[in-house]
């Protein structure tokens, strides 16, 4: 296991793509949120992996999501999880239910975090982080 180095605690954790998720992060850099569609059982899944979680098939296609969804649940963070997120508070972590069915974690952009509500319609914003070579999927009110 990893012990947090106090000298690095101010740096935000960033995703490191792996062989399962390379296409996902590449898709985001092109403005698309890719979901996996199983061609055998029609299951739609988030996140990307080598097998369908429902039927075990390896026959999976990447298809871009509409980017539309609703807020299934949320929590506005006032006490940051460590130094890296202290300047961002308050911010709203969202559990978004995508139009295609799967849920994902994201955070609100482009609106007052205190205005988030259950079942609020939201839409995808592919946010290029200025300081890092990564695009994160965030959501704004639709």
């Amino acid at each position: 296991m990893r012990k947090v180095d106090p000298r690095l605690a101010h740096i935000k954790p960033l995703p490191t793509p792996d062989p399962d998720s390379n296409a996902y992060w590449q898709g985001l850099s092109e403005g698309k949120l890719l979901l996996q569609h199983c061609t055998v059982c029609k299951n739609v899944q988030f996140y990307q992996q080598a097998i369908c979680r429902k039927c075990g098939s390896e026959h999976l296609e990447h298809r871009a999501a509409s980017g539309r969804g609703t807020v299934h649940s949320f929590s506005v963070v006032h006490r940051a999880p460590g130094l890296a997120f202290k300047d961002d508070t308050p911010y709203a972590v969202l559990l978004v239910e995508l139009e295609e069915g799967p849920r994902m974690v994201s955070s609100l952009i482009g609106a007052d975090p205190l205005t988030v509500a259950f079942d609020m319609p939201v839409e995808l914003v592919c946010e290029k982080r200025a300081d890092e070579n990564v695009v994160l999927p965030r959501f704004r009110p639709a």
């Binding site: 960033l14 649940s73 949320f74 929590s75 506005v76 006032h78 999880p81 460590g82 961002d88």
Partner: protein, 401 residues
């Protein structure tokens, strides 16, 4: 998810095969000047003294990991530190649920002949060994590095989103959440050594700063230092070889429904339904038979949801159940009579072991003014990882065998 009947009513069982014969703890709260290993050794010595045996009698060691002492093989590292060479050992990691799994696995190892006297142990130093900020960051590192962590999702946040949804679906209120914190504080005020020592009111909870909505600071568990340890031995030797009144392990069950919070099947019904069903079936009892409980209380809403999923009240009624003071003395199921993670102590992985410590003391009848009269049958439920890990253990006195 489906469970076959044979899964639940296997003829193979740990019921009555092993007993807790020693229990102890270290100094707790803010404990400067003691390493994680020193805390662990202090707790292990206390458990051995309680049982009345020498450390040479230990042939098995089960532990959790420790965030402030990140040995990959904590149980092995501790054995070296403590000067023992066990022939059965493992370091378990299913977050907060690790506590109950250690007892279930210790009982199974003893029943299967792998060990005779198992030391169950967990220690950490989150407050002085890490600092509150680093402890929160370390706990956050437990979320997925690609799909959760980049959004600044504290460990608390996953639990907060489930509680929030519970409020939406069932009308659970902030005042009901606060009531859980108030009752836990009442319990801690009766418990020597508790980290929190001043009474609080519902309005104190509601006026404390937001942590992550719907949780205020006082809806959240503590950050502490501390260790607890137990000796689990075969039922055959438990009756004669130790100083204490044996507390038998009667049933155990676990359930793992997801890893990521976004794949939790329902935000308001957890795998505790299944882990407890297995444990009740093995023990041969039902929720109404339980006299005293230790229920993982990392946040106030967690207790409300667990009252429902462990079968102490119907789904959706947990808020009213705590509002009616059913979780304290005079209620239908006194819970966390030591004050729990909310008000007694929460050093991370060891936290769930203090629920065991209290329920063991209750079943032995050693709780003085905290004693639940006539307690014979107890339940301890541990959970973690945003409700991804669930483990239940049912304990009882000789009379319940």
């Amino acid at each position: 998810m489906t469970f076959s009947k044979s899964n639940i009513t296997s003829h193979r069982t740990i019921r009555g095969k092993a007993a807790i014969v020693g229990a102890g703890r270290s100094d707790i709260g803010r404990v400067p000047g003691k390493s994680v290993m020193a805390l662990a050794a202090q707790a292990a010595k206390a458990a051995l003294a309680d049982a009345g045996i020498a450390r040479s009698k230990i042939d098995g060691v089960l532990s959790s990991i420790a965030l402030a002492a990140p040995f990959h093989r904590f149980s092995v590292a501790f054995s070296e530190y403590f000067g023992i060479q066990p022939t059965f050992s493992n370091t378990l990691q299913v977050s907060g649920a690790t506590a109950a799994t250690m007892f279930n696995i210790a009982a199974a190892a003893i029943a299967g002949g792998l060990a005779e006297n198992v030391l169950v142990l967990s220690a950490d130093s989150l407050l002085t060994g890490l600092s509150a900020d680093l402890a929160l960051r370390a706990l956050t590192e437990g979320r997925d590095q690609q799909y959760e962590m980049p959004f600044g999702i504290p460990a608390a946040n996953t639990f907060a989103m489930t509680a929030h949804r519970h409020m939406k679906e069932f009308g659970t209120t902030s005042e009901q959440l606060a009531k859980v914190a108030v009752i836990h504080r009442e319990h801690a005020l009766r418990t020597p050594g508790a980290q929190m020592t001043t009474a609080i009111t519902v309005s104190d909870v509601l006026n404390s700063p937001w942590a992550t909505t719907p949780y205020h600071k006082l809806d959240c568990s503590l950050i502490s230092d501390g260790a607890a340890a137990f000796i689990v031995s075969s039922a055959d030797s438990a009756r004669t070889a130790f100083k204490t009144r044996p507390i038998y392990i009667l049933g155990g069950g676990e359930c793992y429904t997801h890893e990521h919070i976004f794949l939790m099947p329902s935000l308001t019904t957890t795998g505790a339904v299944h882990s407890s069903a297995k444990a009740y079936a093995m023990a041969g009892c039902s929720p109404k038979d339980i006299d005293v409980a230790g229920v993982y209380d990392c946040f106030t809403g967690t207790v409300i949801m667990m009252m429902e999923d462990l079968g102490f009240c119907p789904k959706g009624e947990g808020g009213r159940f705590v509002d009616d003071r059913q979780i304290t003395y005079g209620g239908s199921i006194p819970c966390n009579t030591h004050g729990g993670l909310l008000s007694f102590v929460h050093p991370g992985f060891p936290g769930g072991l203090f629920h065991f410590l209290e329920v063991v003391h209750q079943l032995r009848g050693e709780c003085g003014e905290r004693q639940v009269a006539g307690a014979e049958l107890g339940l301890v439920h541990s959970l973690g990882g945003g409700f991804s890990t669930q483990a239940t253990t049912i304990l009882g006195t000789e009379a319940t065998l």
